[in-house]
């Protein structure tokens, strides 16, 4: 269910012809022990020009806090309907978020980037804390974030 909806969300945004050309990708985001409450994370994709294309996952349930995910908020223009069905709980310090979804082949090696915005109550907002170029060769390589994210990897 999760992967189907994620695929739909992205395909509507990216209008990729040929839905069959997709593969399961596992995204693993591990937070460090930053000593705060659970983090809100927005995982989304931008194109080669840096323009927002679509959201993959939203960790954190209360939409009133989404403005703290400022790059995502700017890109999505605050359109919450887009993330209905791909929203989960916020992620505690030191914990991992692991999601598997079907991503279109066309997203890889074409200049697309995966961004993670992070925000924690009473702590500094961290937009685009992780920016990972989506390439076939980048799979399995850990990228570290600046503040809250210890490492991010995508595996195909």
């Amino acid at each position: 269910m999760k992967s189907l909806l994620a695929t739909l969300a992205l395909t509507t945004a990216l209008t990729i012809p040929g839905l069959a050309m997709a593969r399961p990708v596992t995204l693993t985001t591990t937070l460090n022990a930053y000593g705060g409450d659970g983090a809100y994370l927005a995982l989304y994709v931008t194109d080669a020009a840096g323009a927002y294309k679509g959201t993959l996952w939203m960790a954190g349930g209360k939409s009133k806090y989404y403005s703290h995910l400022s790059d995502w908020s700017r890109g999505s223009a605050g359109d919450f309907s887009e993330i209905s069905g791909i929203t989960g709980a916020s992620v505690g310090a030191g914990r991992s978020l692991k999601i598997t979804l079907d991503l279109a082949d066309a997203l890889f090696d074409a200049g697309y980037e995966l961004h993670i915005d992070a925000a924690v109550e009473d702590m500094r907002d961290s937009p685009s804390e992780v920016v990972a170029p989506l390439t076939s060769g980048g799979a399995g390589q850990a990228i570290s974030g600046r503040r809250y994210i210890q490492s991010f990897t995508y595996d195909m």
């Binding site: 000593g35 705060g36 409450d37 349930g61 209360k62 939409s63 009133k64 989404y66 403005s67 400022s70 908020s73 700017r74 223009a77 605050g78 009473d122 702590m123 500094r124 907002d125 600046r146 503040r147």
Partner: protein, 736 residues
């Protein structure tokens, strides 16, 4: 109704509300600590641009500047690829200390708002706030009712220790608890987005960014126009991103600023909802209003105390009131029985009546007289069964009956029957019952049958009244009452000291061991309870179910139970006691008498007693290890025969537990009575009364009347009367 509204949330939520209150008290300290640690910005006006410019000199990687409600300024910056934060001086921009958010604060905050249970916990905490509000409002109304009206709300609290504590803490903490719970409810609703907090709309992204060479931050015109006092948060543009903007949040609104032109690209004023939210947030947390925070924290500290005392009050009341099987709701009952009972025996008669009427097919509601309601919608008749306490006073469950009766505006359509319980040996036999009858007649209430009285719990008289009732109601009721022997403990006599036989007043001081109880008995409330001098001990002579009461001359702390008893010719109980030898046992129980205790504090106490009346007074003196001024007036017959406690009194004078002793003996040459001594000491007594002294009288009725007459004369020149002092709780009597 009101009591249920108070009782159920109180008992159900006591632990939850206490946890919320205690964690809230801890949090309430933080704004004050934060403020103490913050450097006050001297009167000079500083703009956000000035401060940001100074900070940018020391921290070129600065990303965000925040100003807390207490005025602390925190700069978040990037150094060598690692984020860091520092607290800076708001005037100079110089670093003061590293900024490290407290894990403890976060822990307590999470306990306070969600009990570490996420959204489910937040809902529970919101329910706790609602319970707190209901408790505070119903509690205040109950207090007003108990004190006899709103005008008397702050009068001296009465009742047992737990009741007094509950009322005193409640009155002090009321305002704080209401403010805390109302603001908490608002915040709870805002968290679940059930009411708007004005925060949900993000500013639309700017469309026309200049993109030119960025200006230094201190030359940004839009920031020069904003005073530092207004700043909440300033976020810098990404380094190297010419299209990014400054984002500012201020007290009045928020906006974005072009980094090349320094102009405000977009600005949005805070709406009313946002301003309301910020105000309520401040009122709840004390952030920005540290003194209020401390006061709320202090109020919250009273919650666990009120929880504990409330539970004790509930449990004591529950135990004192025998269960009535099949008790109907007040508004559904056709027959209402209200009970005024001191020791519980009148409840037994009420239960017999209740059962007989229920068996005859009536819907019966039985309750204490103190819970008189303004109307009973289905009632067809009412019974008032009441004892009289002491010298004509209302018994424990009817203390506020006459006041509540005044509040009943319209007389009911149903008739009332009054039945009094008492002992004809007392001159004011069933006095309170008569007072109730007069009050009802004065208000034009209809009478079902004439007032009847029952002497010494006579089952025969009660059955006869039942026959009269059957005729009045035209129904066949049989009132067969079997008195229940009070639950008692076995006491063993340790020692006795005998006095007075030479003056035909054989009197002994009996000392019994405190019976030991198992832990289970203590938990179930069946143990020998804590007691204080002035409380009563009921003694059951063999083969009798009618207890005789004696004033206690010792307290739990003394480790023994002491009473002072004069042998009356033909007296069943006193004769039995006087026949006891150390090692012998009797059956007894304790009855609290909270009305006869020295008031708290260090004001002088004037103790006046004659004969065995000195017993409880001796107990008060023995307990006076703090050495507050205590003056004893003792009356007896002959100093060499019935001078009770003579040796102990000498010792107490030496160790200052007793300040002065004045004696009066009647059967010596030139004999006098205590009242004569009081008149002689008039100046001294008036001075002590002016100093706030309390007068405590214990003894026979005649002696008490004589003392009151003498004191009326003594007080008259000062414009005072014993009655006026009585109303203030400064003249208390224990008369037998």
């Amino acid at each position: 109704m009101l009591r249920h509204l108070h009782k159920f949330p109180g008992l159900l939520a006591v632990l939850l509300v206490s946890a919320l209150a205690l964690s809230g008290s801890v949090l309430s300290l933080l704004p004050a600590l934060d403020r103490a640690g913050a450097v006050a910005a001297s009167g000079a006006q500083i703009s956000v641009a000035d401060l940001a410019g100074r900070i940018a000199v020391d921290y070129p990687g600065v990303e965000q500047i925040r100003r807390t409600a207490s005025g602390k300024v925190i700069a978040f910056y990037f150094e060598n690829g690692r984020p860091a934060a520092v607290v800076v001086d708001p005037v100079s921009g110089q670093p003061l200390s590293e900024y490290a958010p407290s894990g403890f604060e976060r822990w307590v905050t999470n306990l306070h708002r969600s009990l570490f249970l996420g959204d489910g916990g937040r809902i529970v905490a919101g329910g706790g706030a609602l319970a707190m509000l209901v408790l505070a409002l119903s509690g205040l109304q109950m207090t007003a009712r108990r004190m006899g009206g709103w005008r008397h709300l702050f009068d001296r609290a009465r009742g047992t220790g737990a009741q007094r504590l509950h009322v005193q803490f409640g009155r002090l903490a009321f305002a704080g608890l209401v403010l805390s719970s109302v603001t908490a409810l608002y915040m709870s609703l805002a968290t679940f987005e059930l009411i708007p907090d004005g925060m949900s709309k993000p500013l639309a992204p700017p469309t026309e960014v200049n993109g030119g060479k960025p200006l230094p931050v201190d030359q940004i015109a839009a920031l020069q126009g904003i005073d530092l006092d207004q700043l909440r948060e300033l976020t810098f543009p990404y380094e190297g991103d010419a299209t990014d903007v400054y984002a500012i949040k201020a007290a009045t609104g928020e906006g974005v600023i072009d980094q090349a032109t320094g102009r405000m690209l977009a600005w949005q004023d805070h709406g009313i909802a946002r301003q309301v939210h910020e105000l309520i947030y401040m009122l709840h947390t004390g952030q920005g209003l540290w003194w209020l925070g401390l006061m709320l924290g202090l109020s919250a500290l009273s919650v666990p105390v009120m929880g504990a005392t409330g539970a004790v009050v509930w449990w004591t009341r529950r135990r004192a009131r025998p269960g009535i099987a099949g008790n109907c709701a007040a508004q559904a009952a056709d027959t209402v029985i209200l009970v005024g009972s001191e020791g519980g025996s009148t409840w037994g008669f009420a239960r017999t009546l209740h059962e007989a009427l229920t068996a005859a097919g009536h819907k019966v509601h039985t309750a204490p007289m103190d819970s008189l309601l303004t109307s009973y919608s289905a009632a067809e008749r009412m019974f008032l069964l009441t004892a009289t306490y002491g010298d004509g006073a209302a018994p424990a469950t009817a203390g506020s009956f006459l006041k509540r009766l005044e509040a009943v505006r319209t007389s009911p359509a149903f008739p009332v029957a009054i039945l009094g319980f008492g002992d004809r040996q007392f001159p004011k036999f069933c006095q309170f019952t008569q007072d109730v009858e007069e009050a009802l007649a004065g208000k034009g209430w209809a009478s079902l049958m004439p007032l009847e009285t029952i002497d010494r719990q006579s089952a025969q008289e009660f059955a006869r009244w039942g026959e009269a009732l059957s005729r009045a109601m035209g129904e066949d009721l049989a009132l067969v009452h079997t008195a229940v022997r009070p639950q008692s403990h076995t006491l063993t006599l340790i020692s006795r000291s005998d006095y007075g036989s030479e003056v035909q007043a054989p009197t002994s001081v009996f000392r019994f061991a405190v019976p030991e109880s198992s832990l289970a008995a203590r938990l179930m409330g069946r143990a020998w309870p804590r007691f204080a001098a002035g409380d009563l001990v009921g003694i059951l002579p063999p083969d009798s179910i009618l207890p005789r009461y004696y004033s206690l001359a010792s307290s739990t702390r003394d480790g023994f139970i002491e009473i002072c008893v004069r042998k009356h010719p033909g007296g069943l109980c006193s004769s039995h006691l006087h026949g006891l030898q150390p090692g012998d046992t009797i059956e007894a129980f304790v009855k609290a008498n909270p009305g006869f205790r020295p008031a708290r504090g260090s004001r002088p106490v004037v103790l006046i007693g004659a004969g065995t009346g000195v017993g409880p007074l001796a107990g008060f003196i023995r307990a006076n290890s703090a050495g507050r001024p205590m003056h004893l007036y003792f009356g007896g017959r002959n100093p060499f025969s019935d001078f009770l406690y003579r040796r102990e009194i000498d010792g107490w004078l030496k160790d200052r537990r007793l300040t002065s002793l004045t004696t009066a003996f009647s059967r010596v040459k030139g004999g006098t009575y205590v009242q004569d001594r009081l008149r002689k000491d008039a100046d001294h007594l008036r001075a002590m009364i002016a100093d706030g002294a309390q007068i405590m009288v214990c003894g026979g009725r005649e002696m008490a009347a004589g003392v009151m007459g003498a004191l009326a004369e003594v007080l008259a020149p000062a414009g005072l009367t014993p009655i006026a002092l009585k109303a203030q709780g400064r003249y208390v009597e224990d008369v037998y």
